[in-house]
């Protein structure tokens, strides 16, 4: 059964990729979607088995690499953490497969799209079921590849191609750290298998690494390097620039890869490695701080963006920040709980946005929408549910997970913890503003679109609405239903897969903490309605007065420009310099070309000797003879 979960999507992918044209679009789509749906059903049954019987297993498929003591296997490992990820990945993936049937209706390359989606699912499943760091890395780069392929799916668009390459390369920067982390682990642990690494960690806490004359603590270094990998994949600040650009891909891709699953791989990695991170307070603090910085940064940028998908992308970035700082304060289970609920409501928001874009015929600018909520009531309802869940409106899923993060941060009692409480609440407030701005600008106010007639705007097809409705259902109930299991007081669900060095405190934080966030996010709704739908003069004035600040946010804190200036342009210049100055004008000039020039000059000189005049030759002979004689006489 475990094998089936992992390999069914691969089978679907290969069939749609190689035989899609022969089978026909319709059947390819149905086949690929069904295979993933079967995997989803199997995953749920595994999850149930883990839940009820504490099931765990580690099945070896075959040996991958064995070189000396470097031995790595292909395997399928199931434990509670994996089972949750299996459900998230296969469930959301199958929903999105079905949604894509509708969304890609007018695209000529349906089989290829399905092949990529299923391949992605397969790679993501190998990532979560790995029992060693190398297979994790395989899945890690595999999902990166699929992300690259899907962002650049519309290959005629130059911007899509650039975004795809950017995503791959920024991720490679993260993977660079990750790979060095793996080398380091192998060097000191002599293995890359989770179980052995985790077991050995307590013995190695005092181990130091000497690098360029400086001493580093091994565990700190390993954790930080692994976290650099996570930052790339989960688009944390500094390595986040690819995620907004990734919105060039088709919307179902954004929902599946760039919201629900792939980008959470970084969080998964940190949680999976909790048995190492628990021994490195420094790394945990870095994780928490980077998470907070990202949560705050991305939320501020989301406030002023105008592209509907980019707003949601920055929102994803921000929510991933929440997950990281939850992990950073040691509340790994809460991080996974937020990952779980986030997968539903964020995928829902993207699918909703996809429906909106579909209704407006490929329009993505929210300034060019508005006033259509009566025309597309189902889409509107879906988006409202997603937004309520995201902002943490009471009793929807986000409410439980986000509040739990803030509560755990408070209970942590450390400086970082209190800081996290503050950032968490303030970011929740920002989240509410930008989310409702999106809703009110998209659905309320005046109809601002010139390309489309209001009367032609209508809801999307059922094949798109039904999958979204399933997600909406998940976004509503996933919090209340799974709260007890994931983060409840008596839960022992995580035993064996997450390590908590100090037992979690289940005290209750003060009442004001619990009520603060829901109160703020609820109060924001009417305020946002007033500002964005009713009277936008106040906002215009605000923008005019703070032009610099507004531009700063609009240009995403100028990260792209900065990177272009620091990395991209100099790299090209250095490359050109090495080529022209180094290869052509130094090595070749003084190497082969130089030698051949010298030979030519010399031979031209030597040629002069052969003048053909007898007295020249006689003279040379005479000179030679006299030198020889002199030599013989003297020595």
């Amino acid at each position: 059964m475990e094998y089936a979960i992992v390999f069914l999507p691969l089978v679907g992918s290969l069939i749609s990729g190689f035989f899609g044209k022969r089978i026909g679009d319709k059947y390819t789509q149905i086949l690929a979607s069904t295979l993933v749906a079967v995997a989803a059903i199997l995953s749920i049954s595994i999850f149930y088995k883990v839940l009820s019987h504490d099931y765990s297993s580690n099945k070896l498929i075959f040996n991958w690499i064995s070189s000396g003591n470097f031995v790595v296997n292909w395997s399928v490992k199931i434990d509670s953490l994996t089972s949750v990820m299996l459900v998230v990945v296969t469930l959301i993936s199958s929903i999105i497969h079905f949604y894509s049937i509708g969304y890609m209706n007018n695209d000529p390359h349906k089989p290829r799209f399905m092949a990529y989606l299923s391949l992605f699912t397969f790679a993501m499943l190998t990532l979560v079921t790995a029992d060693n760091f190398l297979q994790l890395f395989f899945g890690w780069e595999g999902v990166g590849l699929c992300s690259y392929l899907l962002i650049g799916f519309w290959y005629k668009k130059m911007s899509a191609n650039s975004a795809a390459i950017k995503a791959f390369i920024v991720n490679r920067v993260g993977d660079f750290g990750f790979a060095i982390g793996i080398f380091l682990i192998f060097f000191y642990y002599g293995t890359v298998n989770y179980s052995e690494v985790f077991q050995k960690t307590p013995e190695l806490i005092m181990q130091t690494v000497n690098f360029m004359g400086a001493e580093f603590n091994l565990i700190n270094l390993v954790c930080i390097l692994l976290f650099i990998g996570s930052m790339g994949k989960s688009a944390q600040i500094l390595l986040h620039t690819w995620l907004p650009d990734a919105m060039e891909g088709p919307t179902p891709v954004s929902a599946l890869i760039h919201a629900a699953t792939m980008v959470t791989a970084g969080v998964f990695l940190v949680v999976r490695c909790s048995p190492i991170f628990e021994y490195s307070q420094l790394a945990l603090n870095i994780v928490a701080i980077v998470g907070m910085a990202t949560a705050f940064f991305a939320a501020t940028v989301a406030l002023v963006q105008n592209d509907i998908k980019k707003i949601i992308a920055y929102s994803t970035c921000s929510q991933l920040g929440y997950m990281f700082f939850a992990a950073g304060i040691g509340a790994y289970h809460v991080a996974i709980f937020h990952l779980f609920t986030h997968a539903f409501f964020k995928a829902l928001l993207f699918l909703g946005a996809g429906c909106v874009i579909h209704s407006f015929r490929e329009e993505q600018d929210i300034n060019l929408m508005g006033g259509v909520w009566k025309k597309i009531p189902y889409t509107y309802a879906l988006m409202i549910i997603g937004t309520l869940a995201l902002t943490g409106f009471p009793f929807l899923s986000g409410f439980y997970s986000k509040d739990a993060i803030i509560e755990f941060a408070y209970l942590k009692g450390s400086a970082v913890g209190y800081c996290a409480v503050f950032v968490g609440i303030f970011t929740a407030f920002l989240t509410a503003i930008y989310s409702w701005r999106l809703i009110f600008k998209t659905f309320h106010g005046k109809f601002n679109n010139k390309k489309n007639n209001l009367s032609t705007i209508h809801d999307s097809a059922l094949i798109m609405l039904i999958p979204s409705a399933i997600l909406a259902f998940g976004a509503i109930i996933s919090g209340v239903v799974f709260k007890k299991l994931f983060i409840g007081n008596e839960t022992n669900f995580w035993e064996g897969s997450i390590l908590f060095l100090e037992p979690i405190k289940y005290l209750h934080p003060p009442q004001w903490i619990i009520f603060m966030t829901p109160f703020i996010v609820t109060a924001t709704i009417p305020a946002a309605y007033y500002l964005f739908a009713k009277d936008n003069k106040i906002l215009k004035n605000l923008v005019l007065k703070n032009k610099f600040f507004y531009n700063f946010l609009l240009n995403k804190w100028y990260f792209d420009e900065l990177y272009n200036f620091i990395f991209v342009e100099p790299t090209k210049k250095i490359g050109l310099f090495f080529w022209q100055r180094g290869d052509v004008n130094t090595i070749d000039k003084y190497g082969p070309d130089g030698i051949s020039r010298i030979v030519k000059i010399l031979s031209n000189k030597v040629v002069n000797f052969q003048s053909g005049y007898l007295y020249h030759y006689a003279f040379v002979m005479l000179v030679g003879l006299s030198i020889l004689l002199t030599y013989l006489i003297l020595y």
């Binding site: 075959f62 040996n63 991958w64 690499i65 064995s66 070189s67 000396g68 003591n69 470097f70 292909w74 190398l134 890395f137 395989f138 890690w140 780069e141 595999g142 590849l145 690259y148 650049g152 290959y155 005629k156 130059m158 191609n161 650039s162 795809a164 390459i165 791959f168 390369i169 490679r172 920067v173 993977d175 660079f176 790979a179 060095i180 793996i182 080398f183 380091l184 192998f186 060097f187 690494v209 690098f211 360029m212 790299t571 090209k572 250095i574 490359g575 050109l576 090495f578 080529w579 180094g582 290869d583 090595i587 070749d588 190497g591 082969p592 030698i595 051949s596």
Partner: protein, 500 residues
Amino acid sequence: MNFPILSAIIFIPLIGALFIFLTKGSQKSIEKNSKYVAVFSSIANFFLSLFLWYSFDSSVSTFQFIEEKNWINGFINFKLGVDGISILFILLTTFIAPICIFSGINSIKFKIKDFFIAILVMETLMLGVFCSLDLVIFYLFFEGGLIPMFLIIGIWGGPKRVYSAFKFFLFTLLGSVLMLVAIISIYWITGTTDVIKLLNIKIAQEYQYLLWLAFFSSFAVKLPMWPFHTWLPDAHVEAPTAGSVILAAILLKMAGYGFIRFSLGLFPIASDYFTPLIFTLSVIAIIYTSLVALMQDDMKKLIAYSSVAHMGFVTIGIFSLTKQGLEGSIIQMISHGLISAALFLCVGVVYDRYQSRMISSYGGLVNVMPKYALVFMIFVLAALGLPGTSGFVGEFLILVGVFQKNILVAVLASFGIILVAAYMLWLYRRVVFGRIGSNEIKTMLDLNRTEIYIFASLAFLTIFLGIYPEPLLNTVDVSINNLIDKYETDINLNLTKTNN
């Protein structure tokens, strides 16, 4: 004495070449017959080498299938034999040779008979390099390879072929002359050129350094290492596709093989002494040539530069002298043999159709050549070391090995994996994606049947070895262990000697 299988493998191509040479008749029948002979002899040879691999016993470290013929009395023995390391290169050679012949059938338009002869002679010489167990024999095969390659570039090459051919010839000859001197002095010092005997004789320390440098000069040019690499891009650019394939897939590997077999085997103390030099040059090669590759506007030059970077990984792996590093570099060489061959074939495909190697001439090929786009994508990904392809296994093992010896080198070399992604994907985007650049591209045909078979076999191996490299690793395992053991005893012996 059993059937002399190694001699058979070496000389079957030569016999094929002889048959082609002797074919007579009309132009058409000559072409047809020589084609059949070339295809048949190279494929038969591939199966024979598979049989060799099958009968090879990978559990012992000694040389197997040894053949010995007295050639010049008391001086040179024609001695052949293989161990776990060389057998893989034999397989690579016999696998690539038919591919070159098929590629020639597709794209060589004149003197095709002579072309087949050149390729087959080339194959014989390359196989001889990997089989020979006598330094003089090795040298003859090693240098002999220059001549057919020189002709392939010089006759079937591009417009600047003469300059490139001479540059190639001069560079490689210059290095190898020094190696010849070294081989002669080895004979003076030890009284033998038999490799097996030499591996067990400890050459005195004071000679080792100079001898090592002489061998190094030959291998460093051929590999090529920075700064001896500038002949490679020129040679590739002007060479016909099949020539580039042989050059990248096999000729470069002879140097890597030489480093493992001779530099490490015969001069362990000097190898240990010069390791920092190798590490420095290799790291420079990886970063420098990757940056240069980024800025190329000629596809073949770009891939040539990327070869230099990939071979930089090979040398750091070899001189890390760790199990993972050495096995990684062997995998990397085999895998680069497949991947670079495929990439040059990919360039050849569009060159045959559009007569341009410039990146800017293309764009939007995916619209008219979807199969080609897929194939090219697979090899671009393999070249950038995506897990699941053989390129990853090699690179990763090398880095794991090097990390144990020198963290800084491993970290700097890992930078290469970012740059390689940048230049390969950028190349792919400019050639394959986007809108169709010109009207001529609209009429370009997708891969034909032969091309599909060639690429499918290369792609299959690349992915198979990426997921299951065990067949290769098992074959070299014992030989590598033996090599490392011997190396370490020599170094330790020397250490205790100097301490006393």
